[in-house]
Symmetry: D2
Subunit: 313 residues, 4 copies
């Protein structure tokens, strides 16, 4: 099937369709700098195994990747502590919204998975380790730059500070897990790491580049370097499939059928193993907090390429 | 990678390993006829796209497929009412045990997905439609026989009757959803359909044969007949991935990485799109109610074949 | 304080105020015969320790007492099985609506208290004991007639049958508890007892008469006969205070400050220990399912009489 | 009945019985200074309307009143903002443990009542108002000293600091409510007020003296000064009855039948309107976190005096 696909044409078509889409969702309004983004933006980047890159729309405009950073932070933390990480975070979909605290009460402070906020805060606590927050943030930035092969990637400090000032619910999650012993540092230190990681500003192109190791059994196809083991790459993809879109994860698997991770900035990173690393961006969100047009664009991409994880290639 | 695989050897190895496994889980004890099954049983059947069949262990011994039947019932019901079905059942993992009633209260009688009991009871209610329970049960049996190409498949009425007599929690679920208008028939009629469907007795071979349409984009590769559309086959696989193992679905995706559906009889049907339809059976269950050795066997099968949905073939 | 009170004037005033009240709430609509009741009805009966009876409005019109019957059923069941009853039902407010099923899942089928539906269904199951439903229903009717000293009290079978036909949520509760072993009879038999008890038709006068033992340390002041022990009368009053109005119990204690039990038919039985047994009725309900004007009338009665349990007489 | 009671003898008997009680519960262990208290301590103080004071055991030994302080803080806050307070805090029993966060998620950051931790933190936030934490703490201390007529009452700063250092769950509650806008100050400032208030050290005698206004329709019988209106005194008593013992409130009403408020330091303040203000103390707690012997002592006091709110005097 792959031979007949004209990916560049497909990507251009999708961008054109998305430009004309009437229902664009609503940008997140609880982080002031994000609320100001123009909802008409749309970008897409598809990078194939051989490095061929298909871009359309605002594919080179940086946006706040927010929760997509949880994929990179998890990868880094697994490198630090290995499978011990799973003693502090589960691997099950939560069935709840991204910031729910209910599940933590019943399950003694162990978050369901590393992609809900509580789980990602535990991962940030692991990355903090014995370091200063500044050091842990620097390490994450260097890691993402290396993955993307692009040293121009930065953290948007205005976004990080806005979140620190208003992130009371995340402070609640961190303190709550600390009461169970599952956060080891004072909440403000761990959250410093977490909010800066979420404030990474990347374009679709940079994001798709950074995600290449997930389509390639854990190796960065640009450098040939093994980022994580093949087994871990598979498992990270599995988590993206079952837990990557909060309480909309089932719907994303149903409609799109690829491992994916969304952020409230409107971005989604999706992985077609053996085929492509894909990033889309459109700021308007659907009712579950995932990019409205980003999801639709990926659904169409899979329809036209047959790249679903649930069907033979 | 596929060229180098000696599937028959792998299947035989796994069966030998499972025969020696010390921790075999515990058979379900709440359905009396199931509690009596010998926990030392283990069977596996792998059927490739071209029909090649690899069997080992007790692959030809019939067992109670229980919740695996929900896959076939969903397929049949989608044929009857199409996507209207999704008005009455969701597509999200529940984050809860198979028989939880909590989620139904918050979500007004709409079950999270068709593979938890509540969702499958709604599907049974749809299959009942304007028919008598006996007719709906007969239709399901004929459908499964046709999928497997085997008219010797039967329903174990002793199991169905044991469940009718003790299935108070399912009666609670049905009545509860009826109070929201999401069950249209008296509970005992809908449950009659549901319990008989769960009491289908099939061997691993029969089950893997019946599941072939899910590896082949909706078409039965034995007959060439389209069972469901390509899109629906993909979606059923997606639901099996995110919701097929109750509150152990995330772990199954993490460890095995294939769409799968388990039953408390100890069976699991798993699908490697484009490659194989797989059925395993071992009566002992793990803490989440899924076959202990069945899961382990599938994990090893994927390790040796590279058939994960989260990795290129 | 008591000496200065002109109870008859107070009762008449309240009835006049209630006749003019603009916001009367909404009658329950899920039991057809109840939905047809004129929302302009209001009745009040205050019976003092010495038997003096103050009536106003529709105090002699029979209405469906519904959940108020749970007080009498509890009293009767305590007579049958004593404090063993508390192994099957708790004594804590539920914090939830009258028909919530969530709490039962977390607490293994033990209802929080005997005044939520689940708890009252367990009480009905106890009353059923080894009898036929018909016998248990007859015993309850005779008990209430004896308490009120009025053999004309009847059960409205049209109401009981309407509830049996539509009471799917109560059937869910009964089956759910049965799955935990806390209902001993088939759900339809226990519910038969429960729905008939709820369908008792009584006037305010009859209800206040029947409730006299609760103001008088367990003895019927009309006959002098001890209905329950002094300790049990106190405990039943305590349960009415903390659990008598579902998730509006706190508000009732806050506003009225007397042990009370409401029913969706719009009635409330309230007890001022040592002073009076009071029944009010007005069909319109507030958001929590308790009589809007009945609550307001009791609030005013306590304001003018000083009968609060939370203040010296 | 009152005339025949020899209160001093009753109080002495109860103290003797409690001294011999084998099952004394377990002191709270999560606040280090409290864990060190000798579980053999028991004190009781009963102060009648006329000021007569009956003491026994360790009635003059100061202990950490902890959550009992919520009664005084609520009284003070109602004086500051009046019934507007009820826009930010409910009046219903929670049905949950003292520090549950689940209910807050469903109810948008509005705590069920002012006696669970979340509610008391809102009350502390109100008391903080435009002041510095130091000022608000000072005001609360002066208020309690005035109620008790005893300027020697102090705050145990070691206890307050221990709680600030370990109170991660309360920090979670405060931040969580702040995310809904129901906490107006930074969490650490509001919690500073809250933890100091909880660290009030008082003896049974001082506590019973401070609680006199609740038995006397809102007026301090020692000074004749109206502390709160009669209606508010009644309502505070109502809240103590329905919500004063967390998820053991129903049981306390059932067994004791008086408005009461417990603290994890092992104290309980109970009110017999028109008769007495009572304080008991014993450090060992029962499973619900309420004083084991304190509850038993009050149960016996009510048995022998007939002071139940649910029975005529």
């Amino acid at each position: 099937m792959g031979a007949e696909i004209d990916l560049s044409a497909i990507v251009a078509d999708i961008a054109a369709e998305m430009a004309a889409a009437p229902d664009r969702g609503r940008p997140a309004d609880y982080i002031p700098p994000l609320a100001a983004i123009d909802p008409n933006r749309f970008g897409i980047a598809v990078i194939e195994m051989d490095g061929t890159c298909h871009l359309a729309g605002d594919a080179d405009e940086a946006f706040s990747i927010q929760s997509i950073s949880k994929v990179f932070a998890l990868t880094l933390a697994l490198g630090h502590v290995g499978d011990q990480l799973w003693r502090r975070v589960g691997v099950e979909p939560s069935g709840s919204a991204f910031n729910s605290i209910v599940q933590l009460e019943a399950e003694q402070g162990i978050p369901r998975n590393p992609f809900i906020n509580a789980g990602a805060i535990v991962v940030a606590d692991i990355l903090l380790g014995r370091h200063e927050p500044r050091e842990a943030i620097g390490e994450t930035l260097r890691f993402v730059r290396a993955l993307a092969g692009d040293d121009t990637i930065v953290i948007d400090r205005a976004v990080a500070e806005a979140e620190l000032a208003t992130g009371h619910r995340n402070a609640a999650l961190a303190n709550y897990m600390r009461s169970f012993g599952n956060i080891h540092h004072p909440a403000e230190r761990t959250l410093g790491v977490y909010f800066h990681q979420c404030a990474l500003a990347m374009s679709c192109r940079q994001l798709a580049l950074a995600g290449r190791y997930l389509m390639a059994a854990g190796a960065n196809p640009g450098t040939g370097r093994q980022v994580v083991s093949r087994l871990r790459a598979r498992r990270i993809n599995a988590l993206m499939m079952t837990c990557g879109h909060y309480d909309g994860s089932g719907e994303f698997a149903f409609r799109v059928g690829l491992p994916g991770k969304s952020g409230v900035g409107g971005g989604i990173l999706a992985v077609a193993p053996g085929r492509a690393s894909v990033a889309v961006w459109s700021p308007g969100l659907n009712a579950r907090g995932n990019s409205q047009l980003g999801t639709l664009a990926l659904e169409r991409l899979v329809q036209r390429t047959g790249w679903s994880a649930f069907e033979a290639g």
